[in-house]
Subunit: 368 residues, 2 copies
Amino acid sequence: MPKEPKPTINDVARLSGVSKKTVSRVINKSPLLNEATRKKVEAVIAELGYVPNPQARALALRRNFLIGLIHDNPNAQMVLGVQEGILETIRDTEFALVVRPVDRHSPALLDDIRHFIEQQRLFGVMLLPPISENDELADMCRALGCTVVRMGSAALDKSEHLVASNDRQAVADAVYWLSELGHKRIGFIAGPEGFRSARERELGFADGMARAGLPLDPAIMARGTYRFESGQAAGDKLLAATPRPTAIFSSNDEMAAGFLHRALGQGIRVPQDLSIIGFDNTATAAHIWPPLTTVQWPIKAMARAAASKLIDPADAASQPSIFLSDLIRRASAATCAGAHGTDAPAPATQDGHGPAETQPLTPVTKSR
Amino acid sequence: MPKEPKPTINDVARLSGVSKKTVSRVINKSPLLNEATRKKVEAVIAELGYVPNPQARALALRRNFLIGLIHDNPNAQMVLGVQEGILETIRDTEFALVVRPVDRHSPALLDDIRHFIEQQRLFGVMLLPPISENDELADMCRALGCTVVRMGSAALDKSEHLVASNDRQAVADAVYWLSELGHKRIGFIAGPEGFRSARERELGFADGMARAGLPLDPAIMARGTYRFESGQAAGDKLLAATPRPTAIFSSNDEMAAGFLHRALGQGIRVPQDLSIIGFDNTATAAHIWPPLTTVQWPIKAMARAAASKLIDPADAASQPSIFLSDLIRRASAATCAGAHGTDAPAPATQDGHGPAETQPLTPVTKSR
DNA sequence: GGCAATATGACACCGGTTACCGATTGTCTC
DNA sequence: GAGACAATCGGTAACCGGTGTCATATTGCC
């Protein structure tokens, strides 16, 4: 095991014939520095493969370069997307990303996170939904001296400490789009109470229906848990309603998949007899049959912005805090069969597999 | 912002009337310490809420407590499962988990990772498939002085530095189980060349077929890319073969889902006319229709063991390095319709949704 | 009283940083 | 051409918050 000690700032100083202080100036890009000596020192640094010890730096600077990602696994792809996005931003900095999956329901949640932050002396933390909605948690993190950026579905915090998707508007646009496809009887599957995302999506559904001039009918609305089974249960209820809805907006993909099972199990054709839209654009959405039309957060862009806000206070204000979701149009949503009495039902799709055809409708790819 | 400086070892020493060194001994649980002074110091530590500064410790000890997780997103759930597993092991230690998603195809891959390790002075790294199969990478990490543990589908390394699932045997068992269900014509979708997991699963398929006394027929074998579309392509080929296969083993779930689309699109009933087994147990597997029977790595157990091996050399040898996968039986695999000429096809399932019934067959939940 | 075992402290050190002072050189001003 | 001034860099020291080494003080025991 080649364990030769790594070169230190002293080695660099000695070999380049300057003082520690000057090397330090080079590392920190001090402006008052002769160009020649800078080159010289940089040459030695390159030759030695010198990398400043971040621990020593952290100690002397009395600050750290670790940012924490705290989450309670909302969904794996989202978490991973966030990690990738953060990394794109910090790649060429000296920051590192430390992850901490937690259990939202643990009574020791706060103590756990406090201990994590104190022990690692984190510089900042990023909170993912749903725990990003916990104000007490955010306050505690701040009291511990680290900057906090929260990711969520709505304005949870001041814009300097927030990246959020405008779920309400995205859902309203999607629902309105269904109405444009001729649907008049549109059902809704809500997420669990206590989730801000669920609340925003409910409001968005109501907005969209109102904009389309359609009434809200409790008989074709259900509340789920964001889990697959609750989507099935919603199917049992909504598909038994008369008249049956011709379209469904589900507050997430997993419930949409559960609902879809029930619909297909009853011989209902999707999208010919029933259109379904989900939310999240999970991998499953693209892999079920028919491929699910769904709303997608611009996760990576949000994560990049969040990381910028974390590591650079100057960026905190300039970076956007509200992001617009995309509607990913696949085969599961199409024009309403009975809408005009004449048209054959055709899926309105971007990338649906199978027999789907693209149909030029009002483009609602980007919610306004 | 309450920015009162955190208490240091000096504060603790002063308030408890002992020297720094003694406090240090308390922190490090030195055995040669008077019980009374220990209590006294511990009381002060608790009162002040003192937490030792890991950067200072790292500097003095000339070692670090960061372990890196390097991966090229094999699949989101796997990565997240690994993160959770690692965290369970290091939760009560002073280690932290730093993540680094990378791009396997980047020409700067090695330099990138080298820089990451050197800059953060990592103590150890864990490599996930498929980059865990890169020997050059593993060697470089070791040359940089950090311990390496690799996760994979087969014996890639010495057992002290490995956690692997025995894919070959798991697939063989699953295929043999299909033969026990009466299937005689079993198709196979291979993963891409160059992936160790793909190779092992191919070998496992051949093993299982041989054990069942069934011949390998190239007409019902295809090579895919692990992507959904390649599963569809495999469907186009295999479903056109005569006689058509009655069962399919796909080397991963995503391709199985693609294959399933094609089968359902051709009006083939699953599992009545065709059984399908996948590999990975992704979220999609449980959410497609019918729910997919699939092979599942014990990811968390593997990750916990890997973390143990990383942080404690003593555990490196004692912890297991080869893990056995589970066969998750759902509705997509069932007895072969024409097998005995009399039996009605019934899905062999554990937790299938819908009309599936559990059927007492040879239990193959755990591959030997 | 001598000696070993136990318990504790003094001090240098890890690899960077800042603070402060001073030296050298070059440039500008009169 | 002398003096003032700025720019550039070095030297020294202290410090960040822990740890190792080694010496010393205290205790128990024969």
